[in-house]
Structure formats: C-alpha cells, structure tokens
Symmetry: D2
Subunit: 425 residues, 4 copies
C-alpha cells in the first residue's frame, strides 16, 4: 500500500485551520463517495449533479460561508474553503467548481454585510439569510458574451433595466439569484474617453426577461453547470443594486475582492492533481516491486510537484486570509498584496497540476487513454484552470511583470472586461 | 523602482518566527554590505572570507544555534536558520554555505546535549560552550574521498585510531574541530554480509596526523572553504566519540538528524534566486517603460517561480520544525515525515533556482556573461544545490519513489556512503 | 494573413521526395476538405469515417504503398508516407491513424514479397494484389488483451487453430484481413525457461470464430475505429502463416520491421501540431496588431518547436529510408540504426506536439475549452502519441539508455509483449 | 563501450556534404587532440590558443572558406562549416568560436567578390587572396560598446575617419583586419527622423588610432580572444569601404547575409552538447551495469535531445545553403526564408544544449562541479549561445512572432544596433 505524500504542516491543504473549516470538511466527508461514483456518468452526459447539491442544501453545505450570526456555518477563511474544495475536487472537479460559486458568494456578501454601504448591507443580509435557510444558490456573472456588453439603464421611473448576456456562469442549473456586473449608462451621450460606470445588480431567477441557457459543452468540467445567462430588458429595483455607478478609477482596491472571489479555486486543482497522483501511484504500486527507471523518475517528480503545488497554493491562501483581515492599510496596497501572491500561485498551480496529470497518464500507460478511465477526465478537467478568472496566462504575465517593474497599468479584470465585448477567450 | 516580490506570510523565508531568529537576522544585517562587497574578489581567488567570520565570531553569530542556557543566541528553529542563510546568500552564497556548517552543528549538538547518551551529552556540552565563547568552529565530515574509507580502529589500550580522508568539508579554513563519520572496525575478521558499525569521533584541529588540505577549486561556491581533511592514524579518546558502534539497522530514525543537518541549506538557494531576480528586475526597470514580450514573460515567470520556491522551502522547513519537536512518535516515521517533504522541497528548489538564475541571465543579456557580473557568479553558485547532501538527484528519485510506492530500501545516506568509497560524485 | 512557418527543405515533412509520394499527396488533397468537415461529428460520436475510406478505396489511396508491379501506387519511402499522413492528420488525426494501418501494411508486405520466405512471398503477393484492387483493408494485431495470450496451436490435421484477443486494432471497422502476432504452442509440454515461438497468421474477416468488437471509447482518436478483435478457435491454414515458429533470439533484426511499421505515425503528430498552430496563429493574427507579451512569446516558442518537431521527425524518417534500403549490413545493427533515431524522434515529437497544442490553447483562451472547438479535439488526440507502439515512454527510456550505455537487453517489443498478458497499458 | 548516438543521415552534423567539407574535416582531425589538451589551461588563463591558430594558418584551415579560384580550400556550404566547427567545439568551444570568425568572413567576402559592387569585389578579392596565403585573419565588428556609436565621417579631402568602439570581436588577438559596421555621417545636420546611413569600412590592424583592448573576462568562451576594438579618428580610404552609405530601408534582404555570418555557430553548440554527452555517458557506462532510475531517464532524455538538436540545426543549415544559392527570388523573401528557420533552430539549439549539459552534470554528480572537470567548462561555455548575434532571445521572440503574425517590424539587427548605443546586453 503506497504511502500518502506526507505533508503534515499547516500548508498541506488538508487540515483546516479553524473549527468551522473542520466542521465543513466533516460534513463533506459523507458525500464524497457518492460524488466520486457519479463523476464519470455526469461528465459524459454533461449533467449537473442535482442530487448532490440537494444533499448539500439539506446538510448546510451551501451555507458554509454564511456568517454564523446569520445562520450559516461561519467558515470565513479562504484557506479552509480551499481545503474543502480540494476534497470535493479529488472526487469530482465539476462538483467542486459549482460549489465554489456558492462558497465564494457567501464570502463576498459577508464582506458587504460587514463593510459595505447601507443598501449593500441590507441586500447582502437578505441573500445570506436565504442561503442559510437553504433557499438561495447565488451565481455570479462577470464575463460578457462576445456578442454584447451587458448594460444597466434607468427605466425612467426610478428603477432600472438590464440587458445583455453573461458567459461561464457555473452552478447555473440550480441558481436562485444572479449577481451581475454591468455597465451603467445614464442616458447621457457618451463623452469621449469616459469610462462606463460599474454597477452590480442582483436578479432573482424568475425575473421577467431572464433566461438560463443550457449552453455548456466543455472539454472538461462538464458537470459544473456552466451556462450562459441572458437578460432581455429585465427590471431591477434600486434596492437590488449591490453597487451602483462606481467610476473606474483604476483602483487596485478591487483586487482584494477579486482575490477573495477566485483564490479558493486553487484548491480545486490541488484536488485534481492529488486524484491523478493517487490513481497512478496506486496502480504502479500494485503492478511491480521493481519499477522501471522512467517510472521511478516520474513518480518522484510527481511527489515533488504535488508538494510544491500544495505548499504554494497554501501560502497564497494563508496570505490572502492574513491580508484580507487587515483593513487599516491603503486599499490599493491591500489589493496588490493579495493579488500578487495569488497570481504567482495560480501560474504555479496551473503548470504543476497539468504536469502531474500528464505524467500520471504516462505512468499508467494506454489504459489511461480510455474515456472511461478517471485519468482521462482529469486530463480534460485540469486544463480549465488556465482560463479561470481573474487573469488568463497572458493577463497574469502583464499583471506580474507590471508589478515587478513598477509599470502603471489598469489591473482591474472586471472593469477591463465590461468595457469591451470579450474575444471569446 | 520595482516592488519587491511581495510574500507577506509566515512562509516567505524573510520573517523569522522566533525572537531569537529575529535577533540573528538583525545581527547579520550589519555584515551584509561588507559580505556583498567582497564576494566577487573572494570568488575569483577562491579565498575564504576570514575577516567576515572573525566578525561573526565577535558578534556571536557563530554561536547563533547554541542553546541560550549554554551561552548562545538560542536559535532553535530550522526555519529561522534558513531565513538567516537566505539573507547572507543573497549577498554571497559561499559565505552562507560555510556559515551553514556552524549553524547546523549547533542544532545537532544541542539535540545530543538534550536527548543523547550521557557521554554524547557531555561531549556536546563541551563543544557548545566553546562555540558560545567564540572558541570553536565545528565542521562535519561525511563524504569519503574516493580513494579510501575512513575507519576507526581500537588502539589496543582503550582508545582509538582514525585513518582516512573526507571530502567537501566546508568552513574548513577556520575549523577548530571536526565531527567525522567513520566505520568502526573492531579487529575481528569481517563476517560475510555484516555491515560495518557506524561511529562518530570528534577531533580537534591540532590532532596529530590530521591535515586540512587546501584542495578546493570548484565551479562555484569558491569562497566557502570546502576542503578535504585527511586523517593519518589520528588518536581518538573514547570520550570524544559522539557515537560508537551503532549497527546499520536501516533505521529511518537517522533521517531526522540528516534533515536537521541539511535542510537549512534551502535558504541558501532561495537567497541566490532572490539576488538574481533583484539584479535582473532592477536593471530591466531602469532600462525601459515598455519591456519586450519575452522580457515581460520571463519577469512574470521569475516572480511566480521565486514565490513557489520560497513557499515550498518554507513549508518543508516549518514541517521539519514541527515534526522535530515531537519525540513521542515512532522514530522511523518521524524520520520519514521530515525527510520526504525536505526532499520534495529540495528537488523543487534546485530546479526553480536554476531556472530563475538562467532566465535572469537571459533578461540582462550579454553583460551578464562577464566574469565580473554578479549574475555570472550566481550561475555557477546555484548549481551546487544539486550535489548537496543528503541526496543527489538520482538518490532523491530513489528515495521519493520508494516512499510513494512502499518499497523497502535503505534510505540512510550516511551508512550507505561510508560502506563504499565514493564514485567521486 | 500570417505566414506559414517556412521550412523549405527536404526535412519539412511537406514536400514528398519521390514522384509516387507527390502523386499520393495530390490524391489526398482532394479529400482533405471533406475530412476536416466531418472531424468534429465523427469524434463526438466515435464514428468511423466509412465514406472517406470508401473514397480512398476508389481513388487508390488504400493501395498507395502497394508496389507498382502489383498494381499499387508504389509509394515506398517512409518519409513520403509521413508527409501524406501529416496532411491528413492536420484535417483529422483519427482518419490518419486508421489510414496509417493500411499504409504500414503495404510496406511490410512488400518487404515480405521481395525478401521473405517462399510461403510468405506468395501470401504477401496475394494480399497486396487484393489491396491494389481495392478489395483488401489489412489490419494488424499485436497487443494482447490483458485477459489472455493469443495462441496458435496445431489442429492435429496439418492446420492450426487461433484463440485469444487483440486490442487497439485501428481501421478495424472496414478490415478485410488481420495480420496477428501469436504464440505458437506445439502441444509439447513447456520446458522450463523456453520462450514461446512467434508466429504470424493472417485471417480474413469472415473466418469462423473471429469477431470484431466495437469496443473503442477513447479520450481521443475516437474516429479511428480502434477496436478489439477476438479469436475463438479460428481455423488457420499453413499457407496463411506469414511467419511460423521463429524462436525469440533477442535478435535486434526485428527492430527494422518494427520501425517500418510505426515510424510513419510521426507524421500524424506533426499534422496535429501544425493544425493547432495554424488555428491559434490565425486567430491571434486577426485579433490585434499588438499582441501581449505572453502571446508573442508563446507564438515564437510554438514556431520554434514546430520547426524542431518537423526537422527531427524528418531526419529520423530519412534515416529509416536510407538504412532500410541497405540490406548488406548486419541485421541487428541495421535494426538498431533504424530504431534508435526513431525513438529519439518519437520522444521529441511526443513532447513537442503536446507542448505546442497546449500553448495554442493558452493563446486562444477560454474559447478553446469548448468541446466544439477543434483545439479541444487536438488536445485529446495529441496525447495518443505517447501510447503508440513500439515503445511507451518508460520502454523508450529503457531502450535508449540501454543502447547508449551498452547494456544487453531484449529490445523486441513484440516478443516481449506476446509472452505476457498486457498490464492494460 | 557505449555506442555513439547513431544518426547516420545527412542531418547528423557529422558528415560533410561536399568533398571540400570532407577535406576540411580531415585537416582538422589532426589538430583535435592538441586542442582538447590545451582547453582547460587556456580557459583558466583566458589565453588565446596562438599555437593552434598558427597551425591552422600553416595547414590552410584559415583559408577553408576562401574560393578555390583564389587559392583557398573552397568550402562553400554552411552545413560543412558547421560540421567542422562542431568537431572543433567538442574539443574546445573557445577555439571553435574564434575559428568561426574567419570561416564566416571567407563566406561573406566570397559573396561580395561574386555578387557585390565593383569596389566591394576588388576589396573582397584582395582580402581573400591574403587569407588564402595565410596572411590575413579578418575579424568583424558589429556591436557598439555601450559608451559610444561608431561613426564614419568625411575627412574633407576625399577620404574618411572612423571613431568609436566595438565589443565582442572574437579572434582579435591574431586579427590582421577588421570589417566594421559604422554609421555614416555626411556632415549635414541631422534631419528629424532620418536614419543614419550604414557603411562598412575595412581597417588593417596597424591603422593609426586603432587599438585592440585585451578586455575579455567572460563567464565562458574564455580562450576565444573576444576583445573590444577602439577606433580613434582612424583614417580610411574610400577603396576600403565594403559598403558606403546604404540607407536603412528596413530591407529584409540583409537577413540573408546575417544568416550566413552567424548560422555556422549552431555547430559550436552541437559540439558542446556532444562533448558533455560523451563524457557523462562514458563515465556512467564504466560505473555500473545497473544504472539508477533517474540515471536511465536522464541518459535517454539526453540521447533524444542531442538527436533533436542536431536534426534541427542540420535542417536549418541545409535550408540556408539551399535558399542562399537561389538568387532569383525576391531578396526580402530570400532573407526571411533563411532567417526564420535559423532563428527557430537557434532557440531550439540554445535550450537543448543547455538542458543536455545540465543533465550531464547531474549524471556525473559532484565531481563535475570541480573547476578542473571539463563539464564545468562546458556549463559555462554553453551559456554563450544565448547572447550570440544576430538575435538575443527577446529579439528572436519579436522576430519570429512578428513573422508568424504578419506584423511589420524592422528586423535588421545591424542597423537597429548601430543606430543606438548598446544597453550592454
């Protein structure tokens, strides 16, 4: 029986650092076998695991990051969120990707509840209480479909209208609400060079004009329910705006929230890499007591890479928790101190996870090339990491080199995105 | 002015975790400019930095890891040792390599003082008090010269005689004592298949028959005073044996001590990588506000790799401190729980440090190819990491793959080494 | 409009070196658009492109490597075969993989016709004339299913019986004949240590007991018709044995035939890499006149890698043609002089093709992650190269290191394989 | 005895493709042992191998690329030049780098003699006849010292004056003539945006005001005599101008000459890689019949990489010979068709040669880290390839990505360089 790669420190991404994180991991433990068992079939059919999420709802998993004061489990550390997602992803990465949406939303709404404007606080509390009650699954919509820019305009009677289309909205099949980034157009003619204002309306799924499009047919992450959502002149009340008309000031302060929204996903790719490693090492260990030269080398490299992946992700997550808690520093500096390590870790995790999965296919041999082999699913799932927000690899290169060299660039992924229709990538 | 790569967590290898570690770093801070200034000339001449070490002696740096109860600074955490060595290595890697010898010896002797046999405890205390008083610089000798096996034999009147030759003894130019691994031969004829017993005599530099050979002419680490030491029928008293005649039982318990002896060196290569990065990024930042495409890419990759290097080394060091402190577990398991993460980190650090230095040469361009450019020294120094004990890359592959696959192998670097003359590698 | 990566030499894998090779490329040219158009749908459904192969049959493509004297097109150079497969694979890799089977069989049967035993010559001529007439598609079966060893035994009345099961038989849906490697058991009790004899019966598809199992469900190469073929006590006449009872003499002479059988596949992965490059560079070129830093770097690296891939494959193919033509040298040396460069090239092509496809996904961005994007198919198809006969990566490492170090090893992939049931890889 | 990596095709960089190339290789063969024997000492002392070059002079090696009609050996193929340099570099890379200067000059002057202006033809013939007679060693000066731009101005009486300083002039210790790229300033006030004209004067070593500065102290290539040459108001006659006042028209036609000048250097790094491989494989083969897992893997990877390196360099060299011979095409297209494959090959050769040398150090172990070990010299020498003209890695990335994407850029390394003082890189 091969040993687990032993990483017994606080940065092993296995051991939660708070009791709430431990409670969440224990809750999830009861679901993992079922998640693993359904992974292949859901992947093949691109079917969302409704049953799993119904169990999550009943067990309070979907309320994990809702503050305890509002009835949730009170997991507040990004590190613990990543530990939980790692465990789920080792069973099925698609499930973890969808679950990340709800976890991430709990954290950002809790921030609004504690530190946001009055209106945002009221709105956030309402959503969080619904999440705690098992009555809300809240998706985010950031990336515009290439065909359009999503726009919020006044309706002339004190309310608003939202039109446009968002892509890559994971967990959409069970979503009850959507938190949408949109350009606010006030009806005045556009002045030359003026950036559109940023607004963030929240829409419930039954809003007239809102349609969830079962559009997902990915190379991997096929069971994550990552759909498009279209908005055709949807009515929005002012009290449903989390943010209304912030100017794009190139303020790196926004990097903090973007880190919180996305850094937990590092746990997903740690889980994918761990699963691949466990499958490959397990099969090799059963095969022979005298592995070939290349087998020994690839196993050792896999152990070292998995250790480095987890240590690097763990360091960035621990850092984000530390910096996030410190609200007394300059908001721009705080944003950069969270995003720089996150992006360093993201580049590292993406590359190492891909290398690990790839070497595990080589270790196992031709059997891994069957569509029914879990390694062939991991080979497809792992590649998603490179396309996850906030930065693609080219954007990450621009960001990190700009930071290192002291260049003045607009690092705001969201305001950059909403200002121009996507190139489809 | 380019920003420092920001890694503000406990795993950044910059911030000591104990007050003693902080005190050591502050002490060293006063020496760094001088160390940096002398690096090129010492490297060129392969000259040991006697003045620096005399300053270290006076300031108590050479007593840093001696327990406070015995008059030292009381630095006891491997993490803090690595933080200190990282700072020194960023100024001059050779100096850090020599200093590591003394730091490492303080830690292992302190262990003997606290947990060893009575005799070992007395001997360790004597050496540690001399170190605290600035009267001892204690080298280790592990690797046999390819020409011979170093052997301890009874002298017939209750004492012992040591003969042989050790290679790669760093800090040798100022050594006052040598802790030597030797085969104990008791005069009985060798029985078939019996492993030689392991013994560890300590010799003072003025022992008759002991000669320090100014033999070092390395590709890099040229100022580290890494010499051979020859023993020609040197007398050794029984009270000067730290260990006398342990059987080679393939006991993984020894992996703990070997981790403590060597893991601090990870800090050295972190320092080398950091120095290369700072030089390259600094020059690029002064050159242009519009870096070329390859320049942006290499800068970003360097930032990400340096982050991963430091996070991975930091995790393995923190783990070693944690596991090392727990003496209640099975000694073999304790050894493996220290060595596995160390070797994962060593493979990662070696590869990333080499990649970083190499890319920094590319970033700077032809000017870096001058022997007078610090980058050309870093290019040579960084390659030493691959040859450092306890495992070379091939040995590390055997160890890590054996652990992962549950294979039964002798992992003891030292007993393996002393049983056969080295292949020169 | 981006320029094609210009490689105007004989090693560019684009320009055939014989008129017959040119004629084949011209023939194929008329099919490429249709092949490209059907690739996505066939991949999704794992459907064999029957129509394409029917067109190939009518046009004489399936007789390309049949000697002109026997009515074929007379393509005899491995280099030209690879050029043709490269063009097809750039449109659809699965189609090229299946087509390779027929091309490869033409070459090896032509060798038997010219240089084989009398019986083998007669049998080969019969099959080649059928191929020339468009009446035969001849598959090979080498790799045993893990459940069994395929065995040929005397039927007691001068004929033979074949039982067992072969895996990974590409082009099986339209196969008319199967050339099968089997162990010959003569009914005598096995003596200790004796290797089974090797035999190669040829069976027509309608042989009683033969069944083609529609078992293929691969990660990629899904339209290649790569099925299992089972043999249940199939009758075989002696005149249908290409080889009957050769001893396994560890003779490296067999490496020549194995090189001829497989080296053409290098063209397939060159085509996959070229297709990925053309898609990615084409999209980037349309996107912007000012590519980002990482984009420039990845484009340049892709150009360099594709050049190296094609030059390396081209050199190994040209070498194989050269050495193959020289029958006056020691057969073992001839085998090694073909296989060593082939394996060097295979390791290089596999790695570079994977790197190129992967970087092309990064260049294109998230759009490439859609199952409908050709890049997502290329990402799955390219990985097949690592599992292609004759050697997997670990086997290739053993072979090349053994050759370099002068170690005595059994390099015969086939006899090694048939002696033991496969590990499924 | 380990086998040589067998690459028996025209692209193995071992077999010249013309009788003249064969004659040169045979001539060199008699010198290799002496070159190899002196390599370490010359490297250590940064001493130019005067004796070797005196032997080269006597034997006609220094006239190898002078046309036979003018008394030379008549080697005209870049491929054959690279084969010769590969053999020399495997013995000592510094010697090969210096020798390359003379070989390269013979080829470019022969082109001027055949296709240049009348004045250039006369000047070229004079120099070539001197080279054939063993009376001329002709260096080039392209890269300006960072302190100045080298400038040619009218002297008021029909002649010219040259002032400035060139760096990285290899073979300078024995140079009799220098071919210098300079800006021509005609005394008119500079108009905004006008590019300086390019001129190429040839100066003999005894020109008043010319000084050869023994300035070289490189990380590697230390015996190559790569000096600075300073010009202090040196008189130049009009008949000594190879080129006088060409406008910088961004004409890619110049890429042809720049390819001819530099592509032969690919042979140098092939030789370095081959030498490292032969040392490492030779030592491993003597050590053990049962190499460790990592050893097998690194040996096999080294074989594959060396094959790919040589095949890729060979393809680019063969292509350059082919395209160079065709003067009927558009000169810009001809230049690009030579430079694109050259740069693809250069990026590949640089990376693979570095990887090979690095893995060979790992294979050999700590003994390779001694300054006296040839591997430690190869580790330093191999890094020079990245800084060789015409493009550094970042420039190569710009060039190749610009070509692939159809961007309009100035690709002329020389006119780009002489227009601005170098950044020292």
């Amino acid at each position: 029986m091969p040993a687990e790669a032993a990483i017994p420190t606080a940065t092993d991404l296995r051991t939660p650092v708070t009791p709430q994180g431990r409670a969440l991991l224990d809750l999830l433990d009861g679901h993992l076998e079922e998640i693993r068992a359904g992974a292949e079939e859901n992947d093949r059919a691109a079917a969302f695991p409704f049953d799993t999420f119904e169990s999550f709802r009943k067990d309070g998993v979907l309320a994990a990051t809702v503050p305890a004061e509002l009835g949730g489990l009170g997991v507040s550390r990004l590190y613990d969120v990543a530990v939980a997602l790692r465990a789920v992803a080792a069973a099925d990465a698609s499930t973890a990707l969808a679950l990340h949406v709800q976890f991430s939303r709990g954290l950002t709404l809790a921030y609004e509840w504690r530190h946001g404007t009055d209106r945002a606080g009221v709105l956030a509390e309402r959503l969080l209480r619904l999440m705690a009650a098992g009555e809300a699954a809240v998706c985010g919509g950031v990336k515009d479909h290439f065909s359009t820019a999503t726009t919020l305009t006044p309706d002339g009677s004190g309310g608003w209208r939202l039109s446009g289309r968002k892509m890559l909205v994971s967990m959409a099949p069970i979503a009850t609400h959507f938190v949408v980034h949109a350009q606010l157009r006030d009806g005045e003619p556009e002045q030359d060079g003026r950036q559109p204002l940023v607004s963030v309306p929240v829409l419930s799924r039954d809003t007239p004009g809102l349609s969830v499009l079962d559009s997902w047919d990915g190379l991997g992450m096929r069971a994550s329910g990552t759909f498009d959502v279209a908005f055709d002149d949807c009515p929005v009340a002012t009290e449903d705006l989390l943010l209304a008309g912030a100017e794009d000031t190139r303020d790196d302060a926004v990097l903090a929230g973007q880190t919180v929204s996305s850094i937990g996903m590092l746990g997903i790719y740690a889980g994918v890499a761990q699963a691949a490693r466990d499958i490959a090492v397990g099969r090799i260990a059963r095969r022979s007591a005298d592995p070939s030269g290349a087998t020994s080398t690839l196993v050792a490299e896999t152990e070292a890479r998995l250790y480095a992946l987890q240590a690097t992700a763990g360091a960035a997550l621990a850092n984000a928790d530390l910096v996030s808690a410190d609200l007394d520093v300059d908001p721009g500096a705080r944003g950069r101190r969270m995003m720089v390590p996150f992006q360093c870790a993201k580049m590292t995790v993406n590359q190492l996870a891909l290398d690990i999965v790839n070497d595990c296919l080589t270790l196992v041999g031709g059997a891994a090339y069957s569509a029914a082999d879990p390694l062939s699913r991991l080979y497809r799932d792992v590649r998603a990491g490179w396309f996850m927000q906030p930065y693609t690899y080219p954007d990450g290169v621009d960001f990190l080199s700009g930071q290192a060299l002291g260049l003045d660039r607009n690092n705001d992924y969201v305001s950059g995105r909403i200002g121009r229709p996507s190139d489809g990538g």
